[in-house]
Amino acid sequence: MAKYKLQADVKKCIGCHSCEIACKQEFHLPVGPMPIRVVKIGPRMINGGLRTDYVPVFCKHCEDAPCIRACPEHALYKRPDGIVMVNKEKCIGCQLCIDACPINAPQFNPELGKIELCNLCAHRIEKGEKPLCVLVCPARCLYFGETTEVNKKMQEIKVKDVFNFK
């Protein structure tokens, strides 16, 4: 199991783009790639009322990552702590990883001709810091930490919602 986890509490997200721009700042990204981005669904009619959902999408660092299997150059690899990383030296920009990924998490950087992928801000984790998107999120909908902790936290949040506890 991956050591770290980033998870969104989807019901809180407002689609403000702060995570997207924070990520661009941290990784000096041009127009185009967004390793974290929010997909807006709706507004649409559900049970007689309107509903809009905002879903932050980013690499889930799969146990058996299809992107790694799809990469012909072995540019994608998994660290011992479970983070999926891109070796930019090896990446040829074929984008087969994007095809293989169920949520299009890998993003193509047209300036470099290479792939950008959320690495949970691995360089910040090393310094004991959280990923930048988590820090700036105005909706506080992103949770990051050791996987067991995040799972526990999300469990608590969801149960609270279901039973409408305050």
Partner: protein, 714 residues
């Protein structure tokens, strides 16, 4: 070497704490400051994109003068200041001091004080806030009449302690995300606060609401009166507070009988049950807070609408209590000298009455622009109207009225009529493109600033993070220099920005530098609630109580109790006109990406929304053969012969009879056009600035106009 500096963002009016990374003298990253009490680390995209703004190739980097052939020529600061001072002197000699005006809207308030300093020294009464007739004035005056002082609209209510939050005609998640926006979300998700949203559009905030009231634009007064009807008739009001602290309740009770929920439902298009449900939710979840913004005030019944919402706050006793709407004075932060106290004082002290009485708007709107005017400013539209008739001849502008004021083409023509125009900005904006001289402004990252205006209970200090990008200058320094070159005496014992900052903090017993060394960017004070209990009255109202019934309004010929008036155009007032112009037009809702006219140059922001958009209901669009992504024309009956172009965004989140177009859209990349295609997709081209006006302030129909939509062919 990377260094992280603490500062305060001024990308909008939130003033969020930020941590700025500087590498080799350049800003490379801006994130939220987790230790700032307001935003606690949160930050929006506008603040984070400032590194792109600072070093953008299109940013103005040096003063320029427009040549007779229309070309821009680089000049030195010395030359620029000389030209400005000489030309201003010439205009004063030829036409008198009242031929000069200073024009502002958003941005730094300190700057107003410095410009009013030279303006009052030459004896010109013409300070023009181009949004002043509808931005904060209706709230300010309605509150003053009701409570004796304005509620803390800019600082926000006490959301953090609210059990019910009612957001009316605005979306803090787009406009005030780092401050009020995230506070609302935290109150909702961490403390279980109820959320009611009144908005014709299903915004992201509405999507999180317990109740969403999809109101017909410009009928908000009726909705508020309907809610008051429910609260009073069902006896949900705060009886003790009403008995002890208000006057005129019986008359209000009588008045609201004219607004039963079924009738209000018909007027506002909000179902009767929902009106009742919202009224009950607001009245029974105490403490509750209300926030209403431009959706409510940008119409011709602004004062009465604001009064109606104020009375909701009053009868439920949600006034100056933890979790309610707050009254600012006496404010713990008022030891810091505030721009909003200083510049009206300059007017009062330095101008003789007869000069003050020559302000534009005094004659036409004697209440809103004279008797009850807290700022002593001139009515912007009437002042611009004077230009072709030889009224105002020279202007110093630090904002973008061509985009921000209604009647854009008329405004541009007026600017062309001026004998001399100076514009100071970050960019060659549409307004700057009409100038004789443009000056490059420094951003908050390049200036030493004191912050108090938008904070409820703290004071902030933000020393500059970097030296200004070469030749960009602090607006305040320029005003001081201008005053000196005009040979005028300042009203203050100051000669530099540093002295001004120290002067502002004087009563705290520290200098600007000492403050930062001692407290960092923020010094917190204790917020005091229910100050009226201490005073045993509401200082500022004639009766010393909350005036549900306003004698002052009555004496000035206005309705002493709030009422609803049909918008002058619309399905009820002009059904025949609606045959040809079938949509109600919300002109200019805001998006989180762009602060007014700023930001369309910045690649990260423009990527997220490259084109100006108009929201249309899919059913309405289908009838017109319009598909999502089609370009469409918008036309209004008030601006015959004009049309503006937007990309259709089909959404179920808008009523089939209403459309909503983006505000302030111009195309900085269109360098083939000297004015940057500023009339192509600018809502204010089709929203005129002439009457019908709100009778108190002279606000034209902005958010409740009517229009037609046609597909752009070819």
């Amino acid at each position: 070497m990377a260094e992280v500096k603490r500062s305060i963002c001024m990308g909008c009016h939130c003033e969020c704490g930020v941590l700025v990374t500087v590498e080799n003298g350049k800003v490379t990253k801006i994130i939220g400051d987790p230790d700032h009490p307001q935003n606690e680390g949160a930050i929006c995209v506008r603040g984070m994109s400032y590194p792109q703004l600072l070093y953008h190739p299109d940013r103005l980097r040096y003063p320029m003068e427009r040549q007779p052939n229309g070309e821009w020529k680089r000049i030195s600061w010395d030359e620029a200041m000389d030209r400005i001072a000489n030309k201003f002197k010439e205009l004063i000699e030829k036409y008198g001091p009242e031929s000069l005006a200073f024009v502002f809207c958003d941005g730094d308030r300190d700057n107003i004080v410095f410009n009013v300093d030279w303006l009052t020294a030459i004896q010109s009464p013409h300070l023009l806030g181009t949004d002043a007739q509808y931005c904060i004035r209706p709230n300010w005056i309605a509150d003053g009449l009701t409570f004796g002082q304005a509620l803390t609209w800019e600082k926000g209510p006490d959301y953090r302690n609210s059990k019910c939050i009612l957001i009316w005609g605005g979306n803090p998640l787009e406009t005030h995300l780092g401050s009020k926006g995230q506070e609302i979300l935290q109150a909702k998700y961490n403390k279980g606060a109820k959320l009611i949203v009144v908005d014709p559009r299903f915004t992201n905030l509405a999507s999180k609401a317990d109740i969403w009231l999809q109101v017909r634009p410009a009928t908000d007064a009726a909705l508020a009166l309907g809610m008051l009807n429910v609260i009073i008739n069902e006896e949900l009001y705060d009886k003790e507070f009403v008995a002890e602290w208000t006057v005129g309740f019986d008359k209000l009770r009588e008045r609201v009988q004219e607004y039963p929920p079924d009738k209000v439902a018909e007027i506002t298009w909000v179902p009767e049950e929902k009106i009742k449900e919202a009224a009950r939710m607001y009245a029974t979840n105490k403490p509750a807070s209300v926030h209403h913004r431009m959706g409510v005030t940008m119409n011709t019944n602004a004062l009465q609408t604001c009064r109606a919402v104020d009375l909701l706050i009053a009868v439920t006793g949600n006034l100056d209590i933890p979790g309610g709407n707050l009254l600012p004075f006496p404010s713990p932060t008022s030891k810091v000298r505030s721009a909003y106290v200083e510049f009206p004082k300059l007017y009062a002290e330095r101008l003789p009455k007869e000069v003050k009485q020559r302000r534009y708007g005094v004659k036409e709107f004697p209440f809103g622009y004279d008797k009850a005017n807290p700022w002593n400013d001139s009515h912007p539209v009437l002042a611009f109207d004077s230009i072709p008739e030889g009224g105002i001849r020279g202007m110093f502008i630090v904002n973008d009225p061509v985009m921000g004021m209604q009647g854009s083409k008329q405004t541009a023509k007026d600017l062309e009529h001026l004998e001399f125009l100076v514009v100071m900005d970050f960019w060659m904006t549409p307004t700057a493109s009409f100038a004789n001289i443009v000056l490059p402004a420094a951003t908050w990252l390049e200036r030493d600033l004191v912050h108090e205006l938008h904070y409820p209970s703290y004071v902030g200090v933000a020393p500059k993070v970097i030296d200004p990008v070469p030749e960009c200058r602090d607006e305040r320094e320029v005003s001081i220099e201008l005053r000196k070159r005009l040979g005028l005496k300042s009203a203050y014992p100051i000669n530099s920005v540093k002295e001004w900052n120290d002067f502002r903090l004087e009563r705290l017993g520290v200098t600007f530098d000492e403050f930062y060394q001692k407290y960092g960017t923020v010094l917190k004070f204790q917020l005091e609630y229910q100050k009226y209990k201490k005073f045993r009255k509401f200082p500022g109202t004639p009766s010393g109580k909350v005036e549900l019934y306003s004698k002052t309004l009555e004496e000035n010929g206005f309705d002493p109790l709030p009422h609803y008036e049909e918008p002058p155009v619309g399905p009820i007032s002009t059904p025949d006109l609606m045959q040809e112009y079938p949509f109600i037009f919300i002109s200019g809702s805001r998006k989180v990406l762009y602060f007014h006219g700023y930001g369309r140059q910045l690649p990260w922001l423009r990527e997220l929304q490259p084109d100006p958009e108009v929201e249309i209901n899919p059913e309405a669009a289908e009838a017109l053969g319009i598909k999502d992504g089609d370009w469409v024309w918008i036309e209004t009956p008030q601006a015959k012969g004009e049309r503006v172009k937007f990309k259709a965004r089909l959404t179920w989140g808008i009523h089939p009879k209403v459309i909503n177009a983006d505000s302030h859209w111009w195309f900085p990349e269109r360098k083939d056009d000297p004015h940057r295609a500023c009339f192509e997709s600018n809502v204010n081209v089709v929203v005129p600035r002439y009457p019908p006006y709100d009778p108190v302030f002279g606000c034209p129909i902005i958010r409740g106009a009517i229009c037609k939509v046609t597909k752009v062919e070819g």
